[in-house]
Symmetry: C2
Subunit: 101 residues, 2 copies
DNA sequence: ACTACCTATCGTAAATTTACGATTGATATT
DNA sequence: AATATCAATCGTAAATTTACGATAGGTAGT
């Protein structure tokens, strides 16, 4: 990517907002979150049935959402229950709200 | 990218939200928008001075924001004045608001 | 017409993203 | 201990993104 030598230091809110936005920057991930909002929680397998995507692909999208902090997984053997991470969700909500005035 | 044969058809709001989110998914673009909110408008050259990025890189980021509909450019020869596109901004705002409840 | 100025576009390279199938790992059940 | 189930991870390929310098284009002033 041929980056400039010094990484640009944006303020924290800017970085955080961009990170959240990036995580939401794919329709499948928006749809996953919407699904989680309806169901409150769900298992990976549920999503694999809902979306015409490979299991590994769904897993990858979940990982991105988890890395961004928007969701969290809880072990419910042999399944994994995913829910929205309320704390970070509220953080994201506040950042977007502020951003849009 | 080895896409599945049939493209997934998400509903329009989902697609639109993802498109907006993607455009906002880079700290430089968040910073550009914040700059535009402060100044109400600005020229490409202003931004080139603000950010330690090549002129072409700034131009590219502006293009992405423009493609997403979040900003618009107005010819003010020999400069180009960029402003937030109010209509689409409000659309984005509404979509994010609804998304976050 | 020529020049100067500003910005978009082109060509490029490297990193990242998105998708898949195959494999691995972890836990519950037999 | 062996098996079954579910989901993460690995390896992979193709597309996209991000960045740069160089070039092209469009307008105003000379």
């Amino acid at each position: 990517m041929k980056r400039s030598l010094e990484t640009i230091a944006y303020n924290q809110d800017t970085e955080a907002l961009a990170r959240f936005a990036k995580a939401l920057g794919h329709p499948t991930r928006i749809a996953i979150i919407k699904h989680l909002e309806n169901q409150s929680c769900c298992f990976t397998g549920d999503l694999v049935e809902v979306f015409p995507l490979a299991q590994s692909t769904v897993s990858q999208h979940l990982k991105e959402l988890k890395n961004a902090g928007l969701i969290q997984g809880e072990l419910k053997p042999p399944k994994i229950k995913y829910c929205i991470n309320k704390d970070n969700w509220n953080k994201a909500k506040a950042l977007f709200q502020e951003f849009f005035d």
